[in-house]
Each structure stands twice: as structure tokens, then as C-alpha cells.
């Protein structure tokens, strides 16, 4: 048994890189700094070692050739999931380019709320180290932060020391919309977060009123969505008086129609505060299932985030039209490639179309796909790169064990060759 320290995680999205992991052959055990997201993701047993065609074990080259044959004969292939490391995405985009495929990241429906707002009016954002050292007021909108990232508070808010705050436990934490599921947001000295709950349905209006108050508008009503205007006014005043306020949200949690408008209101509110003489930053939460990695690599390779297509030989972007689930459901797509190197629980959408799965070992299916190729996990079986939620920092993933599984990049490149 060996123990590897300072292990970075590609699973939690917040770039945790202080894990210690004990390696015994193919089995891993998190021995320090695990959490509810990372520990099971690292410790997941490796069960599938052999590719399958229609449930029958085959060699890797047979599986690759069969997949390439399906792709060659497809009218409109789609590549979904897109949950892998940078090299995996590079190979995925090369295959898609050659094959005229649609590329669609598994988290895009959530991420789209951010992209629509960003591509329409922009934003002012910050990154984890700024938050850790500067943030004295954190407003969390519509999101249960600790279930999103269990160690967020411990690592980035209740850190003992910061460069610019005398006492990190004096930070002010405010929840607007969703209430926290646990007590991680309670400061080390026992100070509880302020919670102003409302339904998702009311959140757009609540956020809009908060922005109006920040802009100094008079609101005639006394409450909105069950929240007193006076309480929102107090939040507005707090943000305007902050040293370095941060407003955070997880687009994936804003599950309602046209939530991009809420995101836009948040982002414009941040700009308003800065225009009025106080520093404030947005902080969108994401980074799971390789979503930031997919969007970054797709961004530099094509100019667009990871919902686009190569069907006419060149990149085309449409955040609505190239939804792989819809395209499969309405018959526009006729072959699905599902790439999920991180999470065995995230399986391809149900479809009667031929399906090729490059999945993490241990993935189980309600309906066996035509081709299944178990692939290596970046950060466990091979080195690689993955992006953290703040989109600036790419972490260097380590290889922890010797496995025989091929990487995403190796399998997809072999498929491109076989085309």
C-alpha cells in the first residue's frame, strides 16, 4: 500500500487538492480530507475492464471499429456527456469535427442560464482566492451551497487566516431563496447565516426588487415572495457598504423557466454596485462532470461553449437547438456517443437510437448500449487537466494507480482514426 498526498480532485468542482489517498492495487481509500462528493468518487470500485458490444465482451479494437462503423453510417451523430479531462475533450472535438457531430455537455441546460446572460450583457466575477482573502459579505442566491460543495465553507470562508480580513469568522453570510441544508455556513464562533427563504417561483421577482433597491428605487410594496422589503433593503445596504461583497449562485439550481433572466439581474446588480463606488463580484458555481473543462476546450477550439455542432463542416452554436436529449427524442439525431469519465451514476438518456458509451468503469444500464467501452478516470488512472468552477484555474490531475483501461482521448482518437 502506498499513500499519495496533495491529490487534486476533478469531481467536486472547487479544486480541492489536499486529499491523501491510499492505493492498494486497483483499490483506493481516501485517508484525509475526503467529503461526501470526493470520497465515493475516488473509492468507486473498478468493475468493468472489458468493452462490450450488445452485452458481449469484445476487444477494444473490435469495440472501436464497431463504434466507428455506426458513426460512419450516421446522418446526425451527437456526442453527449462530454465529461472528461482536457485531452479527452480535445480528442472528442476532433472526432466531432471529422464526423460532423453535435457536441453537448451534460450540464449545459444549467450552464446555459449563465451563458445566455453572459453573452447578452457580460458580468463581473471573481475567483476562489479573492473570495478566501477578501470577501466580507457573501450573498448566496437560490442555492444550497454546502450540498453543492461540502467543503466550500471550510476551505474558502472559515479559513483561519486571510490577507485582508482581521477575523474570517466575522464574514456575513446571507441566503436568499433556498435555505441551507446543514450548518456549514455557521461561522466558527457560532454566528449563523441570515436566511431569507422564498420559492424558486418568487426568486426572479425577489432578485429584481433587490436590484431596484440597490439602484435606489422606491418600492411601494412592503413584501415580495414572503420577504419583507425592509429585509431586502438591509441586504442592499450591506452590499453597498461591504469591503468586497460576493454574490454567488449555481445556475444548475435555478430550475425554472427563463432563469437566465435571474442570472442576468444578479450580474447587472453586481455591476450597479461597482458603478456606484463599491467593489462587488459575482461567483457562479459549477465545475462538476467536467462542465467547465468542456466549455473551455470547446471555447478555444471552436469559439463557442459546449453545445454546438460540426454538421456542416464548420462550428455552429445554438444553446437551444443542439440539445442532444431533444435531438434524440424528436428523431433529429440517429447515433449517440456518451462520454462520462468521472461519474458512473450519470448514464446516457433513454433512447432507441444506437448508443456508444465511453463510461466510467462500474456504470450500469437499464438497457445495455450497443457499444460500451469502460474508460480510465482522469486524476485516478492517468494524469490530465481539469478546470475548477471559477474557470481560471486548471488543475493538474495525478495518476494514482496502474490500470489497463484506456483514456478517453485514446479511445476517441482511435475512433477518429477508424472513421
Amino acid at each position: 500500500m502506498i499513500e499519495i498526498t496533495e491529490v487534486p480532485s476533478p469531481f467536486c468542482g472547487i479544486g480541492t487538492d489536499d486529499l491523501s489517498i491510499q492505493v492498494e492495487g486497483l483499490s483506493l481509500k481516501v485517508s484525509a480530507n475526503g467529503c461526501a462528493v470526493n470520497t465515493p468518487a475516488f473509492e468507486q470500485a473498478m468493475t468493468d475492464l472489458q468493452p462490450r458490444i450488445n452485452g458481449e465482451e469484445v476487444s477494444l479494437s473490435e469495440a472501436v471499429n464497431h463504434a466507428a462503423e455506426l458513426l460512419k453510417n450516421a446522418n446526425q451523430p451527437v456526442i453527449g456527456g462530454c465529461a472528461t479531462d482536457v485531452n479527452g475533450m480535445r480528442a472528442l472535438l476532433e472526432l466531432a469535427d471529422k464526423n460532423g457531430a453535435v457536441v453537448d455537455n451534460v450540464n449545459f441546460v444549467g450552464a446555459r442560464r449563465n451563458f445566455l446572460a453572459m453573452q447578452d450583457s457580460g458580468w463581473m466575477n471573481t475567483t476562489l482566492a479573492e473570495l478566501k482573502n477578501r470577501c466580507d459579505v457573501l450573498l448566496i442566491v437560490g442555492t444550497d451551497l454546502e450540498s453543492f460543495a461540502p467543503r466550500f465553507f471550510e476551505r474558502y470562508l472559515w479559513n483561519q487566516e486571510s490577507m485582508f480580513l482581521e477575523d474570517t469568522s466575522a464574514r456575513q453570510i446571507i441566503y436568499l431563496g433556498k435555505a441551507p441544508s446543514g450548518a456549514a455556513s455557521t461561522s466558527p464562533n457560532g454566528k449563523k447565516a441570515q436566511v431569507l427563504p422564498c420559492s424558486n417561483e418568487d426568486l426572479p421577482q425577489v432578485v429584481a426588487v433587490l436590484r431596484a433597491l440597490i439602484k435606489g428605487k422606491i418600492i411601494a410594496a412592503t413584501e415580495v415572495g414572503g420577504i419583507a422589503i425592509a429585509d431586502l433593503q438591509a441586504i442592499a445596504n450591506t452590499l453597498k457598504a461591504a469591503q468586497y461583497g460576493v454574490i454567488t449562485w449555481a445556475a444548475g439550481a435555478l430550475v425554472y423557466s427563463q432563469a437566465e433572466l435571474t442570472v442576468q439581474t444578479i450580474c447587472e446588480m453586481v455591476k450597479d454596485i461597482n458603478d456606484n463606488g463599491t467593489r462587488c463580484s459575482g461567483f457562479p458555481l459549477g465545475g462538476k462532470e467536467g462542465d467547465q473543462t468542456a466549455n473551455q476546450v470547446c471555447g478555444w477550439t471552436t469559439g463557442y461553449p459546449a453545445r454546438m455542432r460540426f454538421s456542416s463542416g464548420m462550428p455552429e452554436y445554438d444553446p437551444h437547438l443542439y440539445d442532444s436529449n431533444l435531438m434524440l427524442a424528436n428523431g433529429e439525431a440517429d447515433v449517440l456517443v456518451w462520454v462520462q469519465a468521472f461519474n458512473a451514476a450519470i448514464v446516457p438518456p433513454k433512447t432507441d437510437k444506437p448508443t456508444i458509451v465511453l463510461g466510467r468503469s462500474g456504470m450500469t444500464f437499464e438497457k445495455e448500449p450497443e457499444v460500451f467501452i469502460p474508460i480510465a478516470t482522469p486524476g485516478i488512472d492517468h494524469a490530465g487537466h481539469a478546470y475548477r468552477l471559477d474557470n481560471v484555474v486548471a488543475i493538474r490531475l495525478k495518476k494514482l494507480r496502474d490500470s489497463t483501461l484506456p483514456s478517453t482521448a485514446e479511445v476517441l482518437s482511435a475512433m477518429t482514426q477508424a472513421l
Partner: protein
Amino acid sequence: MLIKLTGGIIYDPANGIAGKQQDIYIQDGKIVNPPSDAVVTQEYDIRGKIVMAGAIDLHSHIGGGKGNIARILMPENHRLDAVAHTDITRAGTGHAMPSTFTTGYRYAEMGYTAAFEPAVLPINARQAHMEMGDTPIIDKGGYVLMGSDDYLLRMMVAKKDQKAINDYMAWTLQAAQGIGIKVVNAGGINAFKFNQRRLDLDEKNPHYPVTPRQILKTLATAVQELGISHPLHVHGSNLGIPGNDETTLNTIEGIEGLPMHLTHIQFHSYGTEGDFKFSSGAARIAEAINKNKNITVDVGQIMFGQTITASGDNMRQFANHKLANPNKWVCMDIECDAGCGLVPFKYRDQNFVNALQWAIGLETFLLVEDPWRIFLTTDHPNGAPFTTYPHLIRLLMDRSFRNDMLATIHPEAQKMTTLGSITREYTMEEIAILTRAGAARLTGLVGRGSLGVGDFADITVYSENSDREAMFSTPDYVFKDGNLVVKDGKVVKVTWGTTHVVRPNYDASVEKDLKDYFDRYMTMKVGNFKISDDEITEDGRGSLTVHPLKGAAI
């Protein structure tokens, strides 16, 4: 394989050759002596054609986080310039901030064989190298951005000696795999995080009692003492503010003779005269450049049309956000390291300020006398995309064309510029200095930008054409490391260039304090911060080329 280029007219300022007919032999990727016995396997008859080394862009934002934000921010701009794949090239998108593959192809198709990303944030350096790693054909490298990082400012406040600062900078340069050091609005990006909205050269940061002048001096001293060939690459204070010509003159004076490269000087050459309180400071600045031999500049010429400005200077980008066109923009504070700002711009010839900016850039080109100390850039994509270089070359080489253009811009701007009276036209040799020999020398590249025996065979061949824009748009041949990569302005072979770096020495004990700092304040372990060589080379096509330090034996 022995290649012969027969009868070309050579412009090779690195070796003092200007317009001489001479054959070139290429073997194993390099230029060789005429062999007495070996058989020529491939001969190119280029009699009468112009031959130069491959061009080198020493300041172009081709790789890194802010560029990718710029791409994703502007889908409507990409839609106008979608690029289909071919049998040998990948699909992509172009215009203001092209995708990586398209960037590499388009540079090569203009005869460029290297480009340097001038703002590599250490914390984002992995991304810069990954993007440049997906940029085919051309060589690349990056200047590592420092001067607003809290670690440096803390060292300065703690009065750490210059040696300690040198060690930290050399360590960071190696960790981020760079070839030079860049500073953007010295201390200003940091001050913006403390809600300071403007920072003059002698103004103290609200948290750290140090001034931009002190930061510049400290960094420039380190660059010199470490023996880094490329001088401190300076994006000055007060970018875009009328009256910043004074700041620029003070910056030149404040560096006290140390080597310093002032980048996109056009954006820092504004006076306050005239009815609109906006005037050209180009003459004063050019005079100071002519006098101070320690100073080099690149221009950052603007061109009319849509682009997007992508800068580490979020203090100034935020200040200019109301000019965003279309009206969307992004600013970021980044990891106690730096920041960035993206503001789309549409430069218009009928807008007084834009028209004068255009004239100021050209005045600067024409008034700076020494072609070895000025470089041809648009600060891609900030002044214009790099694809406008052939047009810019025509403006420099062709006075009547330049004056025709001048006659079409905002009439008040025409009155405020001396451009029409400047008779200078750049010669072919001078263009070769600006875009090849000078750029290679200033970045410290060994064996590039030069056509001597033993140099790498990065070679561009043009057909003589009095329309210089047409001529420089479509070279007949481009060779990269001896491979024919472009023919008649189109990519015919895709190769992968190297990444140029320098590695000054440092005392390994520097990591002790850094480890402590990372553990206490940063969000990753110091060991995970450093970029290893295999991160650049493990894909099988990337490589690293380490260049010697100044004064070291080659």
C-alpha cells in the same frame, strides 16, 4: 532531404543583407551551406521573389483565460467568419478572437512563424499553454504577468532585498514556463480590488504603501539582474486617458536607463489639447524614444471595425465599460494574482477619438527613427485582429495610400494630426527588421528571425507586388523548420511549433516562504501550481526550447 530556394531576393537584416539575390539551402530543418556534393531533392525556383525569415509577433493575445472569455462572449462575431475543415485542417472560427487552430493557420498563411502571448497570469499559465498547444504551425511563448500579485507587493512592503525578489520572479517564470516578464498597470490591478479606480505613477496602492514607479523599477532591475533577454514588458499606467503622454514620459524617465519595452504605446500617447481635449502625444513620445536607447516599443495600432479589447488591466477596462460596443463586457479579479477585462469595441473612422487614435499609431511608427526599437503590432485583438497586418504594412510603406485613407477619417481628427505631412515610407528592409530580425533579437530567440547558416529554416517567400497589402497577405511559400507549410497563401501541411522559454537561476530555498504563503492564503498547493515540462510535451507534438540568458555563451 536537401531543399534549394533558387534566386530569391533576400532581406535578412540580422545578417546585414538587404535585397541581395542569393540561393538558400535547407537540410534537416535548418539553413545550411551550399553543399559541394549532396543532391538537391527539391528545388523551388523563386527568382525575383522577396525572401525573409518567418515573421515574429512579439505581442499578440493568442492564449489564456481572458482570450477564451473574449471568444465565448462574442458568438455573433464568430458566426460571420466560420471556417470549415479541410482534409488537413480543423474547423474553427475567426475574426476578432479566432479559435486556436484558425489562429495558427492564419498566422502561417501571412508568413508568420511565431507569436508571443504577452499576458500569462501565473495562475492561468496552464490554460495559456494548453491553448497555445492547440495553435498549430507557429512557435509560441509567453510573458509572465507580475506586479499586481500580492506576494510581490508583500515582499516590497516587507523591504525584502532585490535578490529575494529576483529569486521569486525567476521561480515564477519557471513555474509558469515563460520567456519574459510583463507588468500591466503596475499595482493598479491590485489597487482596483481595494476599490481604487485610478492609480498614477507616484500614487500609493491603498493597502500597500508602494507606487507603480517603484514596482516598475524593482521588476526591471530583476529582469536585468536575472539576465532575461526580453526587457521588462510594460503596459503602462493610465491606459487610454487623455494626458497619459505625461505618464508615459515619466515612466521612461523613472526607469533610469534600465531596458524597458513599452507595449501598445499608441494607447499611452494621448495629450489634452484641442477643442475635444484629446490630442496626439506621438511626437513627444517618439522624441523620448529616439533619445532613450534603453526603450523599445510596439505600437498597438488600431484599425477601423469591430474587435474586442482583452486586457489584464481590469481597472482601466472597468473604467471604459460604457464604451462597450456591443454593450456587454466582463471584468474579473483573479486569485490574488491579477485580473482581466473584456470590452468589445467598434473603432469608427467617423468618430473623432478613434480616428485620432489611428493617426497617433501611424505617427508613432513614422516618427520613431530606429527600426530595431519599434515593433509592428495591433495588440491583437485590442487595436484590431492580427489579420490586419498586411493592411498596416501597406499604410507604412505607401504614403499615397496612407494619405488617401487619412482623407476619409473624421475631419477634426485630420486637423489634429501631422500624419499628412510625414513623408517617410518604410522600406522592405525596415519591415523585415520590425517583423523579423528586431523581434527575434528583442525576445532573445536564438536561430530565429534570421537566415544565416545554422538558423532554423523559418522562411517566407513573397511575390513582389506594389500593392503591399496583397503582397503580405498571400506569401508564395512559407517554410517552418524546413517544412513547406503554406503555398500561395494556403496551409498545405500542418506542423507543430515549439514553446520558447528562459530559465534564470534562483535559490531553491525561495520555495519555503512560497509554500507557507500558498498553504495559508492560496487555494492550491504550491507543488500543484508549478507547470511541469511534460504538461507541454506529453501530447507528443509540443516541445520546449530553452534560450540562453543574456551574456551567456550560446
